[in-house]
Symmetry: C3
Subunit: 336 residues, 3 copies
């Protein structure tokens, strides 16, 4: 029902740039252990995290002059995965090579292509150029879920759960009652949930400074197989000097194994952009809300693991977007 395999010939977020410093970084993507490090030019490189000599994880080694040196016997690899030094030998025989992965290093996110390197197309990376310039202030972070990625993909394309799972922070009961419409374009699903007049949730009051009854807009955008933007608008109906506030929550869901995933998030806002206080509110508050989603999908994962031959679930009207998202992922798997 929920796919656990994922298509390999796509870009997946593998790290945020500030996670990758002077030391190698280990991360498993679609079941493959990958080591990231910065080459001599500072650009991120990705290799299979296993020395071709004695299978030591290269992530336990060190970076020296832009090469990745194994911590066991000292074999050194360049960014292409070629072995460039074997300390106990005068020469390195030809063809000594670790698997390397195409990497696309954006300003906010580092992407990895786990599939056929020949097919890696930088143009297929979801566009984040809207983040360039000064329009948006951002905070970000990395979480992990012990649950299959698709559960989070469907959570993020059905925001009716906000009314229950996030009650008391970003949700109010009215959100679940708002009707939705769904648009599909290629591998993109958009779920529109306009709320002309609803209560302002507590966390919006904190970060935006508005309250009472508000006009609230929500568009959940999914770019298969794992990139989401939650577009949020809020405007007080009682004029109080504060106009429309917008933020975009970027969620990147990267399968780690068949039943676990990495969760990279970024909140970009167009209000109070220079406020360190609002930065901190979001930096602290976003993980609290997102971990409620993580806890929910992990609880569901536990149920699914106990019942591999799971009885069919029923669907409700709020699922329209999630079901389209699932169809697209299944199509991508079948046509990988």
């Amino acid at each position: 029902m929920y796919p656990t395999r994922f298509p390999r010939n796509h870009w997946y977020v593998v790290a945020r740039p500030d996670e990758l410093g002077d030391r190698p970084l280990s991360r498993t993507v679609l079941g493959e252990a990958v080591v990231l490090f910065r080459g001599p030019d500072g650009r991120p490189a990705a290799l299979a995290d296993r020395c071709i000599h004695r299978s030591m994880p290269l992530s336990l080694g060190s970076v020296q002059d832009g090469t990745l040196v194994c911590g066991y016997h000292g074999l050194a690899y360049d960014a292409s995965g070629a072995v460039v030094d074997i300390p106990c030998q005068a020469q390195v025989p030809r063809g000594r090579q670790a698997r390397s992965y195409p990497v696309h290093a954006g300003a906010e996110l580092i992407w990895l292509w786990p599939g056929d390197p020949e097919r890696a197309d930088p143009a297929a990376v979801p566009d984040q150029s809207w983040l360039d310039g000064d329009d948006w202030a951002t905070v970000d972070g990395t979480l992990h879920l012990d649950a299959r990625a698709q559960l989070l993909n469907e959570n993020l394309t059905d925001l009716s759960h906000v009314a229950y799972l996030h009650e008391g922070s970003i949700g109010t009961r009215e959100v679940a009652k708002a009707p939705i419409s769904v648009e599909v374009d290629g591998r993109v699903v958009k779920v529109f949930r306009p709320m002309p007049e609803v209560d302002c949730p507590p966390f919006f009051t904190e970060v935006m400074g508005i309250g009472g009854r508000i006009r609230r807009g929500s568009v959940a955008e999914f770019v298969a197989p794992g990139y989401h933007i939650s577009h949020v608008e809020a405007e007080a109906l009682e004029p109080d000097g504060i106009g429309r506030c917008r933020h975009r929550a970027v969620h990147c869901v990267t399968p780690e194994t068949e039943t676990s995933a990495h969760y990279f998030w970024l909140i970009a806002r167009d209000y109070r952009r220079d406020s360190a206080e609002v930065d901190q509110l979001w930096q602290d508050g976003a993980p609290v809300v997102l971990m409620q989603d993580v806890a929910a999908v992990e609880a569901i994962e536990t149920v699914l693991r106990r019942h591999p031959d799971h009885p069919p679930e029923i669907n409700i009207s709020a699922d329209a977007g999630s079901l389209r998202a699932r169809e697209i992922v299944e199509w991508l798997i079948a046509h990988d």
Copy 2:
């Protein structure tokens, strides 16, 4: 050898009443995740612990006006398992229904019938009417064992182990040497172990106030598949003003999975019934003794798991009751 499957068409204790308050309670019984909650009349109800919409454990939700509300998208269930509200829809389609389980709520124990609901017969619940009235003072508690239930069932029908496993609390070496007799009646096994003159164990001195040489009586009663009463009598042979003291230790063993179980216990005594001090001695002391049994059967479980093709065990004379108990459980499994 030791059965791990258990018969489903029987009553099993699922909780003590004070474990079930205003919040739902999750408990796995015979491999099935069950959620308990109190309906509008306060009576316990039991459903499969899985929302029929997106498989969220219902035990992570809340009880509102006697309905169980899923914490993910707000679907509400009544005590029969029927969905009575879907927040994002005006109507609930017919036939939306979670599995429900027959429940029998006694004064001391809540029982669940995991089998065919049509066959659930309240008359088959073991009689505890002897606990009504003021004859007995009680303390109780809940433990868990990471071992197959039958190991504890056989522990409880062979109390010769008291001499070694519980030495220093309720056991003395003489207990193991006392001859036993066994009676079987339907699904009930009784093992009689009269001890006309033995040392008083330390814990009896604490709770009863007797000591020295005593007449000790022990009847281990097993009602298959998981209910036990250990009937205990003790009387000082040197008259000291204290007459015969009796207590009954009720042990309820409910398989959780094939290799783990819930262990509900209750100690009823007819002496010093108004003593808060003796209440506390039993409330603190009983789990210490019972956890010695839990530790023993968990150690054995570890051995059995390592050796699935376990060599035959040898039997000794003290095993007569346990072997009959095992036969009955095997018969119930075969005729479930």
Copy 3:
């Protein structure tokens, strides 16, 4: 590739003598749970760690008058495994017997023969008579690795890793560059690594008191299937009053399961033999260095478990001794 099964008809170290006191000791060897205890003469005995009555681990019992008494129902075993007492019975039927294992108790190490007892030959125990007398001062200890034993066997026969894994303690980069030669004699492999002039590593300065440039000698000796001696010599090239220092690191690798092992170590030195300070330096320092090896092989084990159909590894010149060691172990397995 790396064998996980191991030959059974060999002596394996099961404990150091000071690990076995008045209480029984549980240790799993080649997948079999063994309990060790001292019989009436103080000599170590080894039985299967499972009561033949109800499968209770005998290691949870106690030693009384040189018999091992089960903690559950009190069955008593002698050093041969024969049941000598059943408390609830007047008599012990004939033939009640737990499996026993041949044991060879040396001064420094206790050895167990997990295979056919008829084939156990004390003459096959590796000779440690060189430790008798006053030539050597020793410290020792026991470690555990969550990795297949053979990974540590090959680590110990290729000491080129000292240059990287143990840099800053016993390793310097020059060690990896020193050429080696290999000798094989029966089940013994010796790897010679003379280093006529290299830097003195920091830990040698601490324990030997030498420094600067030194002549360093290293012979890695492996006696299959799990006994190693690392013969080490060091001598300052700039005469400073301290002559040649020698130590021998004895490493005993005993498979616990197919993918875990016990690691018994002993460091014998011929310098500063009466120095409690040097004793302490070695007692504290050896586990630090050896745990670097444990961490490395455990990291590799994790890689191997994730990839059961592991791609072939490449070999380098330093592997010559390790590859011979592997061949011998494979031969012993095939001819067990």
